[in-house]
């Protein structure tokens, strides 16, 4: 495509926007190029996926409620854990952050829309097809993918149940969607900032999404590459990962985790951005150490490229390899620590109030840090030999992804709901949602640490009797946490339908351009770039 045609297509898109002929009904959503509409689509999609993945988790927890095979066959159990992981990672967490980026980035940097609105529409609308294929595979003869979300070869190639092709196709589409979304974010931030907003004056939220988008652009193609190799190994006779043909199954893990570890940060850096926006607002005090936060985020992103093999300590690495990856992994604790200390320092001697966004942010800081501690423990190679592939790991990544990423998404949702809907949410319902979630999520994931230490491997449909007590409590916590998320649905629906009218800036400590426009945000904002106050940092 030449530059000219790119320009022309962009021109068209912009014209659509500027003539405010809004379509109605389903067409509005199908053809929309408006960043707010697309943001809304992403957020609803991700919530539906959260409930879908959650439903699968409920079946898993029901099976594990007590020893013995109760309700599902072992092979179907593997299909459940695999699709649960894939849906939560690629369907719930990542699209939710893309939704935030779409809604908030243009408003935060004073841009009229995302830079590539038509591509924006595409990047969302191919996503439902990817998940239709993935979830649809449950109803096909092969069954759904059953080789774990990490799809280690040769279990996913020579020994797969025949779902590999669907799986690869679905992952390709998800990857293309994420890449398009990420390109859009980078171009928007680079080109559409309001005059005077230099890089070091951008809100930290914008910085984290900027860095995350670069990570996505760098590693999603590697994922596409590795699933392509998987496909040719399974169906076209290549031997990338097959020892018989001169390949190596361990190489699969190296390439997968070269994608996989940055992927982990793709799911947590935006969370840092959201929390760094909310804590100063409710502590009524500027974010402590803005520039060190930026550098910490960047160094976490860079380090993420040289620690991948800490997922593979038991695969048989030479000693110096184990030492190198152990030291690098431990180093990540430094910038992550800086972030946590900065949040605490922001709260220190502030003037705090505890509205729902703040409650979720505080829960995030504490529980994410607990996940960070177990991460540090896992970094130490000798003890990792004991923790690896046990419930200790399951506890670790659910603490960082559920009470980390998901809680930050809730914090952000409560923070911006007034801006999105024009109404305040019901404080009472929100309190129910928060406290039920907080208690149940800890009941769900904390005992998993004990299960892992006591020796329960992950991904097993049945377990020895000494694990029975904890599993029962974990399952109860799981059901409670699952149900609690329906309260959030009620909060949102109630908030859309009505409620107390929200002012343009409902939080007195909040800063940022998004609060200078009315609530709900008009369909088009910042058609003329806003003037920045000189002292805004």
């Amino acid at each position: 495509m030449t530059t000219d045609t790119v320009n022309e297509s962009l021109d068209d898109a912009h014209n659509d926007d500027h003539h405010d002929h809004k379509m109605t009904g389903i067409k509005r959503w199908l053809y929309t190029t408006n960043h707010k509409d697309i943001g809304t689509l992403y957020l609803w999609f991700s919530f539906i996926m959260l409930l879908t993945g959650g439903a699968l988790a409920m079946v898993i927890r029901a099976e594990l409620f007590q020893p013995g095979l109760q309700i599902v066959e072992p092979d179907f159990f593997n299909q459940l854990t695999t699709t649960h992981g894939l849906i939560m990672v690629f369907g719930a967490i990542m699209p939710a952050f893309t939704g935030f980026a779409n809604w908030m980035l243009p408003m935060m940097i004073g841009a009229p829309d995302m830079a590539l609105p038509r591509m924006n529409n595409w990047s969302f609308w191919i996503l439902p097809f990817a998940f239709a294929i993935l979830i649809g595979s449950f109803f096909m003869e092969s069954g759904a993918p059953n080789f774990g979300w990490t799809f280690y070869a040769p279990l996913s190639t020579t020994y797969s149940n025949g779902s590999t092709a669907f799986f690869v196709f679905a992952v390709h589409i998800m990857g293309i969607s994420s890449i398009m979304g990420a390109i859009n974010i980078v171009v928007t931030i680079m080109n559409l900032r309001a005059p005077g907003m230099t890089y070091m004056k951008m809100p930290l939220f914008v910085w984290t999404f900027f860095i995350t988008a670069y990570l996505l652009i760098a590693v999603m193609p590697v994922l596409a590459g590795v699933v392509t190799m998987l496909l040719t190994d399974t169906y076209f006779g290549t031997s990338f990962f097959d020892a018989a043909g001169g390949g190596d199954p361990v190489m699969f893990q190296h390439i997968f985790w070269f994608f996989g570890h940055p992927e982990v940060y793709i799911m947590i850096l935006p969370a840092f951005g959201i929390v760094s926006t909310i804590i100063p607002a409710f502590a009524r005090k500027k974010l402590f150490g803005y520039s060190s936060m930026v550098y910490a985020t960047a160094s976490i992103a860079l380090l993420s490229f040289i620690v991948w093999a800490h997922h593979m300590f038991t695969t048989g690495m030479p000693l110096f390899g184990e030492l190198f990856f152990m030291y690098c992994t431990m180093l990540i604790a430094v910038p992550t620590g800086v972030k946590v200390f900065n949040w605490v320092a922001t709260m220190w001697r502030g003037s705090m109030t505890f509205e729902m966004p703040m409650m979720f942010s505080i829960a995030f800081v504490i529980l994410f840090t607990i996940g960070g501690f177990s991460g540090l423990m896992l970094a130490l190679t000798p003890v990792d030999f004991q923790y690896h592939d046990t419930y200790f790991v399951v506890a670790h990544f659910h603490y960082v992804l559920v009470t980390g990423s998901l809680f930050s998404i809730y914090a952000g949702a409560y923070y911006w709901l007034p801006k999105w809907t024009g109404h305040m949410y019901s404080e009472r319902l929100a309190n129910w949602h928060f406290w039920c979630s907080l208690i149940s999520v800890n009941l769900l994931f904390f005992p998993m640490h004990f299960l892992g230490l006591a020796g329960m491997p992950r991904r097993i449909p049945d377990y020895a009797l000494q694990f029975a007590d904890f599993n029962k409590w974990v399952s109860i916590g799981g059901f409670a946490f699952g149900l609690s998320q329906l309260i959030f649905l009620a909060v949102v629906i109630k908030c859309i339908k009505g409620g107390e009218k929200a002012p343009a800036k409902p939080w007195d400590g909040a800063e940022g351009l998004e609060w200078t426009v009315a609530s709900p945000a008009p369909y088009h904002t910042f058609s003329t770039p806003p003037a920045l106050e000189e002292d805004k940092a």
Binding site: I183, D248, G321
Partner: protein, 189 residues
């Protein structure tokens, strides 16, 4: 404040900028897709250098006659394993051998096709500890080629090797494992 025309010009600049940045990013995407595949040969190079995974040389080396270090003795053990679905008996004739670094040795492996059809086998070598793999030099090995055996046919297959003089001091035992695979479907015809 911007006037109307100024702003329009400004917007056009931005749009052509968008195109440029997008192009660059798409290039990065394709480069990284390529990089994913480039990791395959890179990984092999990495394994060669570090001995990761105990990979050994796939073509014969020339025996470097640099003398024999009789002050050291290394035990070389041989183990075998037939992968699933290859009905061959496959065993080392001797289980272990003591060698001095630099000394050339010749050992045999016995294979018999116990099935009633012709099968092409391929033995895949792996050395442990992995760090020693780079010092285990095969001059001639049956694993360099495919082994077709008729139904019931038996054969003794040779391996000629030496252990490099540079082998790190702390390594006293070295294990060479062969896994045998049925590659009749993929074999060169």
């Amino acid at each position: 404040m911007h006037t109307g025309t100024e702003q329009k010009a400004n917007n056009q600049d931005k749009r052509s900028d968008n195109g440029k940045v997008t192009k660059k990013l798409v290039l990065i995407v394709f480069a990284m897709f390529g990089f994913g595949f480039a990791l395959v040969p890179l990984y092999d190079v990495f394994c060669d250098i570090t001995g990761l995974n105990g990979k050994t040389n796939g073509v014969g080396v020339v025996y470097a006659d640099d003398g024999i270090d009789t002050s050291r003795t290394v035990t070389v053990q041989f183990i075998t394993r037939s992968a699933k679905a290859i009905p061959w008996q496959f065993e080392p004739v001797i289980n272990e051998i003591k060698v001095h670094p630099g000394e050339m040795k010749f050992v045999n492996f016995y294979a018999k096709n116990e099935s009633q059809r012709a099968i092409v086998g391929q033995a895949v070598p792996s050395v442990s500890p992995g760090i020693a793999a780079g010092y285990f030099q095969k001059i001639e090995c049956f694993c360099f080629t495919q082994q077709p055996l008729q139904a019931g046919e038996e054969v003794e297959m040779g391996l000629q090797f030496y252990v490099d003089l540079e082998l790190p001091e702390e390594i006293t035992t070295l294990t060479l494992s062969y896994t045998l695979y049925d590659i009749s479907d993929k074999a060169d015809s």
